[in-house]
């Protein structure tokens, strides 16, 4: 990867190259906006996302005639301000995405490094574990595990983290295998460097581009899974404003007020699209072919 970048005919500055990739720019910008919404939610949100007002239920968003200016995007079945809940929902989605990838990335990368470096029966065992994980129906197993552990944000992140490590393991393993026999690694082995040092300080930094790409894919994956689980009632617990949960709550009134379902779904699409654009863009930048 680094070699290919080195032989490009005209050296382009790193910053310009990154910004020149429209996917990275657009995706990054959108993620930045959502991240700011999540971090600054208490400052930006016009209302308390949990405050109910049963006299103000099902107010429509601003493009309707009945709309009320103080609730720009209307209110839900409990009279809670929808815009505020959508803003706070960014916290859940991003929190799940990042939290899951920290857990799953740690597991998957460690397994992949060890399998790829040592090979032999260790590799066989880890590859076998990966195959088993891939064979499990992920939505159903996650649902069952959350149901057993009791629906909560922490359970959800733990369960998804323990399930989504497969791609990290597969990609890290392949990358480690290709690096293992390079001269700088044999050199380190010759001077007696210990394997944890070789793995985490020498091999791992050499594949950070690839790992970043997998990370974005898995963040998107986790966000989508969270919304699906919350939609099915086995994700985060009400009254927490998760976009998936909001879709489930709005579903009963979808015929009269379709925007209750449309808006949170649009937020999910936007965020996942942004993360994927960033990931695809980075993949192009790190020189991997578009697959």
């Amino acid at each position: 990867m680094t070699l290919e970048t080195a032989v490009t005919p005209r050296p382009v500055s790193r910053v310009r190259k990154v910004l020149g990739n429209s996917g990275v720019t657009l995706g990054g910008l959108l993620i930045l906006i959502v991240a700011l919404l999540a971090i600054l939610a208490p400052l930006i949100a016009p209302h308390d996302p949990y405050a109910q007002d049963l006299t103000q239920r099902f107010l429509p968003p601003f493009w309707h005639d009945r709309a009320v200016p103080e609730h720009l995007l209307g209110t839900d079945h409990l009279g809670r301000d929808y815009l505020s809940r959508l803003i706070y929902g960014a916290r859940v989605s991003l929190g799940v995405g990042v939290g899951v990838v920290i857990v799953s990335g740690f597991i998957g990368i460690s397994l992949g490094l060890i399998a790829g470096y040592f090979g032999g029966w260790i590799d066989v065992v880890i590859s076998f574990a990966t195959t088993i994980r891939l064979s499990l129906p992920i939505v159903l197993v996650a649902l069952a595990a959350v149901a057993m552990g009791g629906a909560s944000f922490t359970t959800l992140v733990t369960v998804l983290g323990l399930l989504l490590w497969d791609r990290f393991a597969v990609v890290t393993r392949a990358a480690t295998q290709s690096l293992r026999h390079q001269e700088f690694i044999s050199g380190l082995q010759a001077i007696g460097a210990r394997w944890p040092r070789i793995l985490f300080l020498e091999i791992l930094p050499n594949m950070r581009g690839t790992i970043l790409v997998v990370m974005t894919l898995e963040i998107a994956n986790a966000i989508l899974l969270e919304s699906a689980l919350s939609f099915l009632g086995l994700g985060v617990r009400p009254p927490m404003p998760s976009w998936g949960l909001m879709i489930a709550e709005g579903r009963e009134n979808i015929l009269f007020d379709p925007w209750l379902v449309a808006l949170p779904g649009a937020m999910i699409c936007l965020l996942v699209l942004a993360v994927n654009l960033l990931g695809d863009g980075m993949r192009d930048l790190t020189g991997e072919a578009r697959k």
Partner: protein, 307 residues
């Protein structure tokens, strides 16, 4: 070929055993399944009675052996909620999920294959860009949300299709399309990249150079080789469609395995959940094993290395 076949079957069998142990172990995640079955209103005596009735007081290995032994003969125990054999309930639901999954897969393939080939013919051309937009959006849209919006637009506003259930064939239209949409991006991308790779090889160029018609070159020479990675992916995607239909089935009120699993979870009917997890996992193992064998048969180079 024979040693590859044997090796691959041993791995598949190992995975199947491990997966069955995991689906069995799932009900012990809570610590005590008897309390879970007794529910929040159950007393300690209730839990004790359940423990005896279900044999939870026996060693876990004995319980597993008992469960898997019966499962092999098609006996998955009694449903706690319905109080009838699990196999009876599941037997009614499998055809629905299979129909939904197969139709969705066929639809996805029918769209992804030609689109991927067309995109590969002219990279960065109009069709390629359209395909890219379709793929990128397909991976960003949550399918349950797409399903709900489709119900509103096509079911309610235009009244073109029934809004729930699969009593008539029209009821399958929306769930199949929505489910297919989630499988299109990956299938199309791998067709496209496979085709681009093959189209750049010498034997394709010489086929073109000796004046063979383009259509023939693409269909007969290129596609046949580009399709190899598609076989593995197809197995994976079909497996994902079968197990992923859980969300779609609950959106469209389709009485398949997924919806049954979800409802059983909500009413703590664990024997049903266990059985469904096992069956879906085994589908996946069979599909991917079959794909590997098919690939090895089509491409002898693969027989040596794969474990």
């Amino acid at each position: 070929m024979l040693s590859f076949l044997l090796r691959r079957l041993v791995v598949a069998l190992g995975v199947a055993v491990a997966v069955s142990a995991l689906s069995f172990a799932l009900i012990f995640l809570t610590g005590d399944p008897a309390i879970a079955i007794a529910g929040s209103g159950g007393s300690a005596d209730d839990a004790e009675a359940i423990r005896l009735a279900y044999g939870f007081n026996r060693p876990i290995v004995v319980q597993y052996a008992d469960w898997i032994g019966s499962a092999l003969t098609g006996d998955f125990g009694q449903s706690i909620y319905f109080n009838i054999p699990v196999s009876e309930i599941i037997g009614n639901r499998i055809p629905v999920t299979l129909t939904l999954g197969m139709l969705a897969f066929a639809t996805a393939l029918a769209i992804a294959l030609p689109l991927g080939v067309a995109a590969a013919m002219r990279p960065n051309g109009f069709i390629d860009r359209f395909a890219l937009v379709l793929a990128v959006s397909g991976q960003a849209v949550p399918s349950f949300w797409l399903g709900l919006m489709a119900i509103v637009v096509f079911g309610v506003w235009y009244g073109l299709v029934p809004i729930s259930g699969t009593d008539t064939w029209q009821g399958y239209i929306l769930p199949v399309l929505v489910l297919a949409y989630s499988a299109i991006p990956e299938l199309m991308r791998i067709t496209r990249s496979g085709m681009i790779e093959v189209l750049n090889t010498d034997y394709i160029r010489s086929a073109q150079a000796k004046g063979l018609p383009t259509g023939r070159v693409i269909l007969v020479h290129a596609l046949r080789n580009a399709v190899l990675p598609l076989i593995s992916l197809s197995a994976v995607q079909l497996g994902i469609l079968l197990s992923g239909s859980i969300v779609i089935e609950s959106v469209f009120a389709v009485n398949g395995l997924g919806r049954l699993a979800w409802e059983s979870l909500l009413r703590s009917d664990l024997p049903v959940v266990q059985a469904i997890i096992l069956i879906l996992s085994l589908f996946y193992v069979v599909l991917t094993t079959a794909a590997d064998l098919l690939n090895a048969w089509l491409d002898p180079r693969l027989r040596g290395g794969a474990a």
